[in-house]
């Protein structure tokens, strides 16, 4: 490995080297997202009926949900760490990861609604009533509302330790509820969304036989890029919160 400190004349290079070592994943996120937008709009995609060019939404809409799941996963990890250690720093981490995860989930919901408007409503002439009954949409709405309640719950405590403890336990429940509401129930009952019985795709976006390799070379980097951007924004929120709560955390 190149050790810049051996060359005292290159002080500027040394600073750059240490900075890059700290922020390499932010640069990676930037590069992956530039690739996602460029490759996602220009590279070859499978020609499919109904979807047409809108298959490219895979790099944007689906990635929002992937990033949301990962951020919620990090959030519950910090909640469990809080319950094990009673360190309020983990409570701040859990809250901020849940907040950014919820924003990504909301973006996923809105983009899904736009996509569905053209591929379900216009092209498959589904009525609005049948789309409103769509189990994937109802499940996703329930999951997001459960996370909404997490923030309501947090806001209703005056005792900081009680708030941290109860909301950490609730966060575990909220994460557990994601699985039946988003992943299991829409696949048991019929749904227009890929993954439902009758839609001939078992596990959309993850099944190797199901997703075309031309899509995968953009999709996987896109998931990593969007997730890293979400983590980056979360770290900023955590650092701000730590600055605010400096008096509460004794370190």
């Amino acid at each position: 490995m190149f050790n810049a400190s051996l060359y005292p004349n290159f002080a500027a290079l040394n600073i750059l080297y240490h900075n890059v070592r700290k922020i390499w994943w932010k640069i990676l996120s930037l590069l992956l997202l530039v690739y996602t937008v460029t490759g996602g709009l220009l590279m070859d995609v499978p020609r499919l009926f109904i979807l047409n060019e809108s298959i490219r939404n895979l790099y944007f809409h689906v990635c929002m949900w992937f990033a949301m799941m990962i951020l919620f996963g990090i959030s519950i990890f910090h909640s469990i760490r809080y319950l094990l250690s009673n360190n309020l720093r983990f409570d701040i981490n859990a809250r901020q990861y849940a907040a950014v995860g919820s924003v990504l989930g909301l973006l996923g919901y809105i983009t899904g609604a736009i996509w569905a408007n053209y591929t379900w409503k216009t092209d498959q002439s589904q009525s609005l009533a049948s789309i409103l009954k769509e189990p994937k949409l109802i499940g996703a709405a329930i999951a997001l509302l459960i996370y909404g309640a997490y923030f309501v719950l947090r806001g209703s405590f005056t005792d900081i330790d009680k708030k941290a403890r109860v909301s950490a336990v609730y966060n575990i429940f909220a994460f557990a509820m994601l699985f039946p509401s988003i992943w299991i129930i829409p696949r048991l009952v019929g749904s227009l969304h890929p993954g439902a019985p009758g839609s001939d795709s078992g596990n959309p976006a993850l099944n190797f036989k199901d997703i075309d390799s031309r899509l995968r070379i953009v999709f996987y980097p896109a998931v990593i890029g969007w997730t890293l951007l979400g983590v980056w924004i979360t770290t900023l929120k955590i650092r701000l919160q730590l600055l605010k709560d400096k008096s509460l955390i004794h370190e």
């Binding site: 932010k26 996120s29 930037l30 997202l33 530039v34 937008v37 460029t38 709009l41 220009l42 020609r47 499919l48 009926f49 979807l51 047409n52 060019e53 951007l229 980056w232 924004i233 900023l236 650092r239 701000l240 600055l243 400096k246």
Partner: protein
């Protein structure tokens, strides 16, 4: 030309014009025209500008917080 003949002719013409429409539906429609005249690059340029602008903004906030952290005792 009487009325009936006119009607038959119009129906035939309308039927003929629908043929290209039917031919198109055998392959999925893609935005090939957009790629052919190169205008898709305009969309890519716009999206990239927005993305880079947003990330630059996040980066600026990052630096501002770093500065605040250094100022704190």
């Amino acid at each position: 030309m009487n009325r009936t003949a006119k009607r038959i002719l119009t129906s035939a013409l309308l039927a003929l014009t629908s043929i290209p429409g039917m031919a198109q539906s055998t392959t999925p429609d893609m935005a090939d025209a957009m790629r052919a005249n190169g205008k898709i690059y305009v969309v890519v340029a716009v999206c990239l500008t927005i993305l880079l602008g947003l990330i630059a903004y996040v980066f600026a906030i990052d630096r501002k917080i770093s500065k605040l952290e250094k100022e704190q005792p």
